[in-house]
Point group: C2
Chain length 441, copies 2
């Protein structure tokens, strides 16, 4: 009991359990877990003398889950704006990565990214990048939860020289770090067009044996579908299906170009989509058919993508655009209402990661990943509907308190740890060096 | 000289004059005006002993201009989310307005809105609402510049009972307040579908005589075009043209549904568009063809619309979505690059309002409406391109300093005037009463 405390906000959006909104309730946290969600007075009676954190005017939600990012790329933010995907990759990103990418680049970039994400209420991020051990170390410094992508890509980098080596390094890392309570793992073949059949087939078998999600870019551009038709005589999703990858483990990132049959297949198989609207718009890949996905019952989470294509690791802003774009592109204003969008940012993303038994909602027994958003500012007054206010009006600037596994990692809008703050200042000071090495003025 | 001071940021985006970006320059402000833009040392030599405001790591831009809003509606923010435009208007907005709208509602709502806008770097807003004198008073409290819409609508409200009375009240207000240096005026017929030919024709004549912009909702939904075809046998824009309204004075708001001929007509006549992407998406009106407008040379500014349909009066966020949506919907990533988007938020909007000789760029002789954005935060480091960082990564939370007509109205992210702060606190305290009177829980 010594570690227990009680959080009493004005509103709680538990996500999952009904009703959507609780008033005058409290969350009891014991150690890393939620012990109870009760009417406040009942909680105070049941836990006499428990320390209470009162949050007048705040909405408490589950921690936000960023379902797709490349955290380390924050050091390349803005290096290639206003360019289409192929030129962006070939002229800017890949050459800069070839010059820069090593474990220290990844550690610094991931710490910047994690700082930005955590301050904005993101408690878990699903990452795909080289040197994942460096990303894990930076997230650990801030106490963040990570689903670490064990990347596989069909060309050599400073990290590994062959698909087989990528995979072996990733699995070794999982063996080393598997006991960390804030880490989980995904197999992360980069994309159908960068990984050959042989390796994709092996990944399908491993996903099944090890019960790991498969995090992969999928149907991001029209061009990759055309090239797959030319090379393999089929669209990439059909190829993944023949290789055994279209299962509940699949997290298909982007999915901008899907026909109705493909949406139906993904939904039937229990796969998930990581929808990244800002990145898709910025690189002019198009607009994902989210309204049709939701109608088909396909599980959709939301991702920021990396800073080089977004350029803001802000899940609230991403979710707002996702909601608005689903309405505007389907011409139906009732599509993806605010409570469903909050669920996509939390419980649905947890389900995609295979973590929905541990995080994603505010329920007794789950781990205490929680965000309190201060809705008392002039720009948020009055509050007709707190969940709607969160999705359509609030911003990351209103995120006031964050807990991860019961640890109070953001307090009154400040990162909690002075050790972390010192590390962040040192990284910010080093960014000018990385910028020079990236070869840009 | 006693009132002169010098602002020395790391970067200046003057907008208009070349180059797009100045480094190590300073802006000299004397009274309400910009006296000079010079290399910093040259400025210090030319103005010995001048007080200097050093802004390390900041980008200085012209003040942002919100080209379309209904400020007072901030009190209705969130009252009708996830509904299509017709139900939103008929079931939520109009009944609430009928219960609430009076000068005190407008004063309170406009003060909330102005607080939100000013904190986010908006120095001028183009407003359309009832009781514009109350909006003017609230803006004056914060020292903001307003283009006040002299609203005309074909149904009675608490403000006026006939189109003729609306117009008379508006023109009387202009006679009373015309000397206020922070006020300008637009004729503001609500929409083609709410104002009859007779009054639109009179407005066209007045716009010409008085040299006033005409601020009007235009082709927002497919439905209003169909109804116009049924009622008048022509599309609304053709009707406006026959009534003499398609001139350089026209500010057409929304313009979601325009064919190529209409875009060409508007461009040829030197008219302007107020593009409001969040509102258009949220109400499922559609996506305006901005890429085609820009190609045709049509002048495009950006507006937030009112809080009831957006729900965030944040021009930086609106501009970011505008830029991304123009790329994603045209499938061309190079459309509307960051410097052009900044110009749309400032100089192009000033041109639409007929104010481009006074505001919209950082040039000697113009009034000193300036915004300094702090780009030194971890989430904005490193800075490859400051203008790109502003549009794609920064948020209103990074707006640090704001000047309007040389007056320092936001200092270190705080509104300057304690008198204004007291008034804002009082309004926030009253919002619960307005919420109850709006008839919603």
């Amino acid at each position: 009991m010594s570690e227990a405390f009680l959080i009493a906000p004005t509103w709680i959006a538990p996500v999952g359990p009904r009703p959507d909104l609780l008033r005058h309730h409290a969350v009891v946290v014991e150690g890393a877990r939620i012990a109870a969600v009760l009417p406040r007075q009942q909680a105070l009676d049941a836990y006499p003398g428990i320390p209470e954190i009162e949050l007048e005017g705040h909405l408490l939600t589950p921690g936000f889950i960023n379902l797709h990012t490349h955290a380390a790329m924050s050091l390349l933010r803005g290096i290639g704006d206003d360019l289409p995907l192929a030129r962006w990759l070939e002229e800017r990103i890949w050459p800069a990565e070839a010059r820069l990418a090593g474990a220290d680049f990844v550690a610094d970039g991931a710490l910047l990214a994690a700082t930005e994400m955590l301050s904005g209420g993101i408690t878990t991020f699903n990452d795909m990048y080289f040197f994942p051990e460096a990303t894990a170390a930076s997230a650990r410094l801030l106490g963040m939860r990570v689903a670490l992508g064990l990347i596989v890509i069909g060309f050599p980098t400073a990290y590994a020289s062959s698909a087989a080596e990528y995979l072996r390094k990733g699995l070794d890392l999982r063996d080393q770090l598997g006991e960390d309570p804030l880490l989980s793992f995904c197999l992360a073949p980069h994309a159908p067009y960068t990984v050959e059949d042989e390796h994709l087939r092996r990944i399908a078998i491993l996903a099944d044996e090890l019960d790991l999600p498969v995090h992969i870019h999928l149907h991001e551009t029209a061009g990759e579908i055309e090239r797959s038709l030319a090379q393999y005589g089929m669209r990439p999703l059909e190829r993944l299906d023949r290789l055994g990858l279209v299962t509940p483990h699949l997290i298909g990132v982007h999915a901008v170009h899907l026909n109705d049959a493909e949406i139906g297949l993904l939904a039937d198989r229990g796969a998930s989509i990581a929808h990244c609207p800002h990145s898709n718009l910025k690189l002019a890949s198009g607009i994902a058919p989210v309204a049709r996905m939701l109608e088909a019952g396909l599980n959709v989470g939301i991702g920021t993508d990396g800073s080089a294509s977004n350029n803001r690791l802000d899940l609230l802003s991403e979710a707002r655009t996702a909601a608005l774009l689903a309405k505007g592109s389907s011409l139906r204003a009732e599509v993806w209402p605010a409570p469903a969008v909050l669920k996509a940012m939390t419980l649905d993303a947890a389900r995609a990661l295979g973590l929905d038994d541990r995080i994603g909602s505010i329920e007794a027994g789950k781990e205490a990943d929680l965000v309190a958003i201060d809705l008392s500012a002039p720009e948020l007054s009055p509050v007709y509907d707190p969940i709607s206010q969160l999705i359509y009006a609030a911003g990351r600037e209103h995120v006031a308190e964050v807990w991860i596994a019961g640890s109070h990692v953001v307090q009154k809008r400040q990162l909690g740890s002075s050790f972390a703050l010192k590390a962040i200042r040192e990284v910010v000071a080093r960014t000018a060096l990385w910028q020079n090495r990236a070869g840009n003025a």
